[in-house]
């Protein structure tokens, strides 16, 4: 089956979810672009957007329309050529509207799994629950005569286990997008020894058409991205616990979040990232990964406590951030959750005191935003971290320790054979987490 044929009937499971909606958007656009090629004009392309939530699917269609509109406005120069033979489409606006229709016209919002029984390719982006994934995939496979291929977006469950338990005979690979899929460049590609070779080739071509950067990861729970993130987060949590000996919980969490963002020049602090991903999701991923690890315990009582109280983070359906460890107002962090008081503490009530304890960053001009597109960022960061290492403040010391730990985690991923090499680890953090520098670097360790 050729690339085009494979993409004539596709299903995305969990299409209304955070990851599913992005995967659906990218796939819909790729399929629409194929359908608009002269040689494909007589063919029908179908993309089932399958989700159990009708409300979610209604929201998905709104999201799709808004996103495709933006995309079409950006590529109107090209679209005028695509629709050159459509004499009825004259103005940019008419062309853009037609393109939105053509993309949306491929998408079939459905709530029943049966829709996937005719598909050649199934993207799985349901919740991070192995048994659910196995159940859905095996049910589809048993009822689908096309020997379909399965691309799972799991960020933690080993692929070979899903393969074996769902009896898919190697017709599955891990195709792990980063959040949000439409923006982040990275896809982690995980195959097993049994993975169909033709399927791997297809996945590489598909990723290329989506302009994604592929990093291969070996089939270990958590893969590279979460392999780093989970351990990095646990380090942050343990530093908060250490700090509570000398300050309040809210002050400690504020400090570690600030150090990981400002001192380490990252796009967001570690607790903001946990909120962004969702405290429940982080807890879940650790639970999935933990049974596979002999020499360490990926588990945090603090996360359990937060879930117990019902503070989960994650995003609202409009993409805005829900409160988690941090409280957000118009995108800004304004307060920190105290699990003892079960309430938020205003940052303004202790910020000045806390900032004085942590100290200043080495160079006020260096921030993630200011250097991410700077071609000489390596030089800037070298000076910056060299200065940081000479500083005697609490913030600087904790930051250096954090950088050392991050490097150690990166190296361990290679030593444990999760990543093929250090470059792959760095690429994942640069393109999946948008870091300005990789964890395995010359600055630390």
């Amino acid at each position: 089956m050729k690339y085009n044929e494979r993409l004539q009937n596709v299903t995305v499971l969990g299409a209304a979810g955070k990851m599913g909606s992005g995967i659906l958007l990218l796939t819909a656009v790729e399929m629409a672009d194929l359908s608009l090629k002269p040689e494909n004009k007589s063919k029908t392309f179908v993309l089932n957007a399958m989700d159990v939530s009708p409300e979610g699917l209604a929201g998905l269609m709104n999201y799709l329309r808004a996103q495709v509109l933006k995309l079409a406005e950006k590529k109107t120069v090209l679209l005028r050529k695509v629709y050159a033979d459509r004499k009825d489409l004259i103005e940019n606006r008419e062309i853009i509207e037609q393109y939105i229709f053509d993309v949306l016209n491929i998408v079939r919002p459905v709530t029943k799994l049966e829709a996937a029984y005719d598909s050649n390719l199934i993207f799985e982006a349901v919740s991070e629950n192995k048994d659910l994934k196995v159940k859905l995939l095996s049910q589809i496979d048993q009822n689908n005569k096309n020997n379909p291929w399965f691309f799972t977006n799991t960020s933690s469950v080993p692929i070979n286990i899903i393969d074996r338990e769902a009896n898919l005979e190697g017709r599955i690979l891990g195709f792990h997008f980063y959040n949000p899929p439409a923006v982040q460049k990275l896809v982690e590609l995980i195959n097993t020894d049994d993975t169909d070779k033709e399927m791997i080739e297809f996945s590489l071509e598909f990723a290329k058409k989506l302009r994604k950067i592929i990093v291969p990861s070996n089939d270990y729970a958590g893969f590279i991205g979460n392999g780093h993130f989970m351990r990095d987060a646990l380090h942050g949590i343990s530093e908060v616990e250490n700090l509570t000996k000398e300050m309040s919980f809210a002050e400690a969490l504020y400090s570690v979040n600030k150090i990981t963002q400002d001192f380490l020049v990252r796009p967001m602090g570690i607790f903001q990232l946990v909120d962004y991903v969702g405290i429940d999701v982080v807890q879940f991923i650790m639970n999935v990964m933990n049974p596979f690890l002999d020499d360490e315990n990926l588990h945090s009582p603090l996360l359990d406590k937060m879930i117990e109280i019902g503070v989960k983070g994650g995003q609202n359906s409009n993409g805005s951030q829900k409160n988690g460890f941090l409280k957000y107002e118009k995108g800004k962090v304004v307060a920190i959750f105290d699990p003892e008081k079960k309430d938020y503490v205003e940052i303004n009530s202790f910020k000045e005191k806390c900032d004085a304890v942590i100290g200043d960053i080495p160079d006020a001009k260096v921030s993630w935003k200011s250097i991410i597109r700077n071609r000489k960022k390596d030089e800037v960061l070298k000076d910056y971290f060299n200065t940081l290492k000479t500083m005697d403040t609490k913030g600087a010391k904790l930051a250096v320790k954090y950088g050392d730990r991050s490097k150690e985690i990166g190296k361990k991923l290679v030593a444990d054979n999760v990543a093929h090499n250090e470059d792959d680890v760095n690429t994942v953090m640069l393109t999946g987490f948008f870091h300005a520098y990789g964890p395995v670097n010359e600055y630390f360790g």
């Binding site: 120069v77 005028r80 004499k87 103005e91 940019n92 606006r93 853009i96």
Partner: protein
Amino acid sequence: MKKLRTKVYMTAGYNTISLGTGRSEFNPKKPRPGIEHYIKEAGQGTLKQIGGAKNVDEGAIGNFMAPRFNKQGNLPGLIPMIDDGLQWKACTRTEGACASGALALMSGMKSVLAETADVVLTVGFEVQNTMKAIYVADVLAGAGWFQKRKDGHAYFFPGQFSNRAGAYYEKYGLEYTRNGLKKWFKNAIENARLCPTAQEHENKVADLDALYDKMKLNGKAFVDNLSVLDCSKVSDAASAIAICSEDGLEKIGIAKENAIEIIGWGQVERNLTLDPPDLTELTTIKKAAKEALDSAGITINDLATIETHDCFSIAGILATEALGFAEQGKGAQFVADGNTSRDGKIPMNTTGGLIGWGHPTGGTGVHQAVTIWEQLTGKAGEAQIEIPKERPYGMTINMGGDDVTVVAIVFKRG
């Protein structure tokens, strides 16, 4: 030819700011003032200088596409909105694409010449930031022949002038031409910095040459032969000026030295449905400028300053040739050598022109007249250039479409 039966003056000019990207007031996500704000501010700005609405006999309003940008037609009805004193007076709207403003000036001038009015309040405006640039391009494409729209570029007018630039590059060399265009751009920004109402007034780029060089031509994202720096931006603005007879000036109590006299003009139309005869020549501008100068009885050497229609940098270069300052193919050199800079042989677009000050399409013709009025009467503030005593003349060239509707007007200090 045109023997003026009576003297015609312009005075009491007023410009709103040119709002759009580049101005710190501009935020695409926040609501902005509507057309009524601009028309009112500009109109009242002029009324204040001429003793109020009671002195106005008629109104003229120039606009290109308010029916599409702002879903508003019947524009003459917006003149009485400026001031209650204008209620029940005669008003006219003119449209000739980006030359709509100059057509409004012509309308006012002809009323004065016909001796049916002594004072005509003339306003030109366009409010275009109501939509994204990709849709603005659709609306502005109306200045071209609609049957050619389908085969045109997504950015239709940049596409038209990109074709002109491409033809010029082919004939005279890419690097040579880009060098001239770069200088045109640089002059535009530097002049705009001196004018508080200009869209590029706050432009702080230290090295404009480097910026221009960095912006590579990219036909996949934009047009083949021009970068965005070669183009005027999307602007919201209005300008107003009073057109008066001698009696009119007396009535409003403004001395002649604070006014400029119209001593000649050329108004020329090219068939919209045909392609331009020569891509490397602005033929209509050439004819209009010649008519204007001939009717004024002066030559280009008598002019102290010119406001020319540089919707694109290449139009600036081509104008220097159409006016006769440079031979064909030598315009890029003429500009690169600094002849059109504010301290050059013939300073052009001294407050930034369309690229630097802004291009509120239907308002541009009026804005050009206001600038010439400011310069010839010494009211240009920081942007003031020296007007030599023996050359008290200025000229405006306002172009609609791809060299289709053109009005050139020659002014003399009053």
